[in-house]
Subunit: 246 residues, 2 copies
DNA sequence: AATCTACGGATTGTTCAACAATCCTTCGAT
DNA sequence: ATCGAAGGATTGTTGAACAATCCGTAGATT
């Protein structure tokens, strides 16, 4: 068992260019909340996880990250708590935190969540603007496929499914979906998918979108359901590599 | 504006009777993980939230809780992070954390999540044992209704819906549902519901369960959907009281 | 040779104390 | 009555310290 290369980490420094969500103070004054240091650490780690700089199974040492980012160990700890609640990272008591690694069961579970959320959102329809967002994601996918850009095709596909959930205009469903997509991204870095993987989906997305636009919600939902089942099967085949992660 | 009574807190002391989930160490040895102090603090606060000892809008001061439970402020902070990720508590930067208070929009949102998750789980059916668990929750509700015990009727109802989600055997859906139910509990403490509220649902649950048991999954799903819509409407009427929370 | 045990280093879990930053309130001035 | 400035309180963050735990290794035992 190759103990895997040491945590590859780009020596990025911690900045504060983040937008900063608007909150309002007790007196009613509006205020642009500066993300706390812990949040910025979490954002930075999330970014590195999304980029694949931190691969599944890799260990995250508190002290290392603390000095690399120039923050206190306690702050890193708070960031870890946040990432753990998003399942991007797993805590092993007294052993440390490790980048989460989706096993076969996890993949199935993630798809179970997606089936529940996406189908429900799609079946309920949505406002014209929200439908337009779905359409935009479809076109984005077409362009990426035409350009043979699999990276772009992947993100376009995620935009498509994110837009479907957004139809429901539910903050909670949106955050759940965001977390699920983040988990999927983690998995894709582990098992690199062949180039034609995404291109295959473009016509499916097109068909679903057309059904949605013409108001055939039940048919759209059925198509999406079939799509998700097929997608899960495809991923199941890829999973052949030995899971050496912890 | 009555500044509301100061945080009512039972002077419970922090114990460690918790079950402790089983983990396995790197060498493969099995180990009963003792919940960390932060987790125990979170559990204790969760309990007080469920019991209604901490009402929506109440402020949780770090130092107060720290000395009450005999732990460090930093540890309380970690517990807060956990509760915040579950939406049981809201962080206002530089102002403190407050017990979450579900507004009208939140109630609708929670029901959107429930519609997605519960209907999906029900439509997929489930194993005989899992169906039996649903049946058990129905009978539990009948007994509670017969005894005019609205408290028991409420928990039985939550068991019923929890059992429905459990049909899917999805860890992620189960935790999502658990969080949603915890949020609902919060809301019920805020707006006390009349006694006949739950009893009304017993026959509905019975009918849904019968449909499930006889394999009429689509019909069961439709019944559940209608049930959830009605339930949301009922709660919408209750929400009339002025929201003085923060 | 294989297994068990004890030791040692390293990392996590938790506490404590301090300080800056921010907020809310109160007081005072206009 | 409105506005602005000082004061007190709480949060956000740091740094250091220590106990608890784990892992690997070396040594002892069979």
């Amino acid at each position: 068992m190759a103990s895997s290369d040491p945590t590859v980490r780009s020596p990025r420094t911690l900045t504060n260019d983040m937008p900063g969500r608007a909150t309002r103070t007790a007196t009613g004054r509006l205020r642009v909340a500066v993300p706390s240091v812990a949040e910025r650490v979490a954002d930075e780690l999330r970014l590195q996880l999304a980029e694949g700089a931190l691969l599944p199974g890799a260990r995250l040492t508190e002290s290392t990250i603390a000095e690399d980012l120039g923050v206190s160990r306690n702050t890193v700890r708070e960031a870890f708590a946040e990432l753990a609640s998003e399942r991007l990272v797993v805590r092993h008591p007294n052993r440390g935190v490790f980048v989460a690694s989706l096993e076969a069961g996890d993949v199935h579970d993630v798809y179970t969540v997606r089936r529940a959320i996406e189908v429900s959102a799609l079946r309920a329809g949505g406002s014209p603007e929200d439908v337009a967002a779905v359409r935009a994601a479809v076109e984005e996918g077409k362009r990426a496929a035409a350009a043979r850009d699999e990276e772009a095709a992947g993100t376009a596909n995620q935009h498509f499914h994110g837009a479907i959930v957004a139809l429901a205009r539910s903050p909670r469903l949106n955050t759940i979906m965001a977390q699920v997509l983040a988990e999927m991204r983690l998995f894709f870095h582990k098992a690199t998918v062949d180039a034609q993987f995404y291109q295959h989906y473009v016509p499916d997305n097109e068909e679903i979108c057309l059904a949605l636009e013409s108001g055939e919600l039940d048919r759209a939902a059925d198509l999406l359901l079939a799509y998700l089942d097929r997608s899960e099967d495809n991923l199941g085949e890829v999973h052949g590599d030995a899971a050496d992660a912890e």
